[in-house]
Amino acid sequence: MLDPAHGGTDTGARGENNIAEKDVVLGFAREVRGELESLGYRVVLTRNDDSNPSYDDRAATANANRNAVFVSIHLASTGAVGTARAYYYQYWTSFAAPTSITAASANAPAPGAVTWEEAQRPYADQSRRFAEVLQGELSTRFSGSDSAPTGAAVRGLRSIEAPAVVVELSSTAVSDPSSLTAMAAPLASAIVHGVELFRPAGALVTP
């Protein structure tokens, strides 16, 4: 699963010369898809146009595909230009589902049940390992990047029922849009190698 962030009226980060995160990351995702498909992976994009599916729509698309890995692609408005970071969802121990979810069932969720809001929780360790592998690949291609991934409560990962990471590149603060285009090939290479290391094509992994 590849998730080009934002879309539609949600432009994401913006820079000079009409640089918009939503457009750049869609181009990145298409490039990554081409590379992965050439290796035999089946690749699904959460959006392939200028639409803006909700977080839940994106999660529903991802969760309908079994044995998937999920990579959400972002472009930051800050950070050292030309660096890249992988994030995994970091749960706060006291996270609780919003009122609407528990109110709907009238009772607290049954022991062992996983709510939609916490679908990522059983995959937390796998996501962290995936992020570690991916950050290793990113740091060799994007000079100045950290060698370890970061845990953060990224909303778009919370309901994904699969190993899931965010890859965020820096940044929209470039004067020449072509320098962003030049990031597409190394990004695709990093994600392809990261996915290959984490889950070789055809391998089945259960949580």
């Binding site: 994401g12 800050t78 970071r85 109110a103 809001e117 990224v154 909303r155």
Partner: protein, 223 residues
């Protein structure tokens, strides 16, 4: 010819001298203008977020987590008058975090962001309600948004031991994310093992109550 050259050189020297004097004067005027803007900004901010004084204030060393580089936060020890009341104490350290960074580069939150209200529920859950600016003026990105939430959470964790977890609201509303990335629908751990008042039910063992952060009557409120 020789005479013309001398005249030209003298005129050039005079022009350079005039230029230098003008430049110095211009520099002084720009400096004064900048000082006046800074003073006006300070006055404006004191109206937006006036200092908080309580009867139990004691000079203490507070650890405020300001920005260190574009993505990280780091503690800086500053002497502040801090209240014994945890709600007021939380507002005091948040005010210091948001209003008084040692340098502009260390500012971790948007300049116009303020705390609108702060509550602490009996179960140790704190509710911090920030102005719109915290969401609308934070640069979009996991890195930049994490810096903002980390600075708030860590500053509270280091200075207000009574808070177990924190819920962030924007202008009284629960929002999905800060600026498109960092999840604000849940609670941030502050001091998960903080002692609670006798008889209070811990948030972690009461999921049904914990799921309603904004509804119960707050222990204390402040605006």
């Amino acid at each position: 010819m020789q005479r013309n050259l001398k005249f030209f050189m003298a005129a050039l020297g005079l022009l350079v001298l005039i230029g230098l004097v003008s430049l110095r004067s211009l520099h002084q005027r720009v400096g004064k203008l900048s000082e006046r803007e800074a003073a006006e900004e300070k006055a404006r901010r004191e109206v937006l977020a006036p200092p908080i004084f309580t009867a139990t204030d004691v000079k203490s060393n507070a650890q405020i987590y300001w920005a260190e580089g574009p993505e990280k936060v780091a503690p800086v020890t500053v002497e502040l008058a801090l209240s014994a009341d945890p709600v007021q104490r939380a507002r005091q350290v948040l005010r210091a975090l948001m209003e008084d960074p040692p340098t502009p580069q260390q500012r971790a939150t948007p300049p116009d962001a303020t705390v609108l209200a702060f509550y602490i529920l009996p179960d140790g859950t704190a509710i911090a309600d920030f102005s719109d600016s915290l969401a609308s003026d934070t640069p979009s990105g996991v890195e930049s948004e994490s810096q903002v939430t980390n600075s708030i959470v860590r500053t509270l964790a280091s200075n207000v031991p009574n808070i177990r977890r924190l819920k962030i609201l924007i202008h009284g509303q629960e929002v999905d994310t800060l600026a498109g990335h960092v999840d604000l629908t849940g609670f941030f751990d502050v001091n998960p093992n903080a002692p609670l008042p006798i008889g209070a039910v811990p948030a972690a063992s009461s999921p049904a109550n914990a799921a309603k952060p904004a509804a119960p009557s707050p222990a204390k409120t402040s605006r």
